[in-house]
Symmetry: C2
Subunit: 197 residues, 2 copies
């Protein structure tokens, strides 16, 4: 039963991700801030719905698992806004690596290795699976902000070039989605929700 | 782009599940009520961690997809406490079938059929995949209540026999987990958190 107890401790520890809040707003629930657990659910399902647009080989089962675990490190490291200063982002990266070791380290050795590897693959964003997963993590805030009069972009003066750079994993991998994102970005500039720079 | 627009409308509609609240409490976030979106994330990951305990063939990719979508119907039908009166549960079932038709019906035809079928398979709880998915949906509230001094069991005077019946999908399918659950139920009775009946 020793492995099972480790796994159950990990599962209970996951509860804390429901108390980590992001910059995105939940329009349908009094415009409160979104937490990282419900966000992880939403993008996992987004990936299920949209993976038919990938024109390169993407394993949706691996992508889903990546998305389910991708934010767990925030339990220790907290959420950081995507367009923060470079030094802050670099410091955050170190915190997240330590968090992955502690949190996945609650699991039995074999699962620890598997989840840690999968999370590192996601972070590196080099494989098709990781690029698609990253793209899903980024397309959803775009959809949310477009329906929330620019949302966090407006509050943080985000630039068009930052957003294009952030969504570029779609280019080549899912051209139809990339085209859609580019159009939305242009629309957001027209509305004054993104700086034209 | 017509299919894509339908899919994006569905993805945006999913946001509303973050405003559907359950009986379980999130201990790590000021003991507020848990919503069905973050719950869906938690049990999807619970299934990933625990599926090695299944002794019959279980397709974890299908199970995960089932768990990601299983509560979407609550956007229209609301959440109902598991141990409500039979008439209320039967009325809820009809509401959920209508909800599945409307919500999955936002998707292109092929995806509508696929998700509706998968949801019906989950509800019927006859296949191994559906039984394992149901078991995950039920083991997590048990873990939560055990760490919350009985939680919703105490508030609603739940009986031991009800809980055994509710977790019986594990019997045969995942004997180690079934044994664990039975022990926890006995412990809860000892603590006075479940009625010994």
């Amino acid at each position: 039963m020793d492995d099972l107890n480790k796994q159950l401790d990990f599962i209970i520890e996951l509860d804390r991700l429901k108390g980590v809040y992001r910059q995105a707003l939940v329009k349908s629930d009094e415009n409160r801030f979104e937490n990282s657990a419900e966000h992880s659910w939403h993008i996992s399902l987004t990936a299920q719905i949209l993976h038919e647009y990938a024109v390169e080989k993407v394993d949706i089962s691996r992508v889903t698992c990546m998305l389910l675990i991708h934010d767990i490190v925030e339990i220790d490291a907290g959420d950081m806004f995507a367009f923060s200063e470079p030094e802050a982002l670099s410091e955050q990266e170190n915190k997240e690596i330590a968090a992955a070791n502690r949190l996945f380290g609650l699991l039995p050795e074999q699962q620890f290795q598997a989840y840690n590897q999968l999370w590192l693959e996601f972070e590196s964003a080099e494989t098709n699976d990781a690029r698609f997963a990253k793209a899903m993590d980024r397309i959803l805030p775009l959809l949310q902000n477009m329906r929330n009069e620019g949302g966090s972009w407006v509050r943080h003066n985000v630039k068009k070039s930052q957003l294009i750079d952030r969504n570029k994993h779609l280019e080549g991998l899912a051209p139809k989605l990339w085209l859609y994102v580019c159009r939305q970005i242009d629309l957001a500039v027209e509305q004054g929700w993104l700086e034209d720079a």
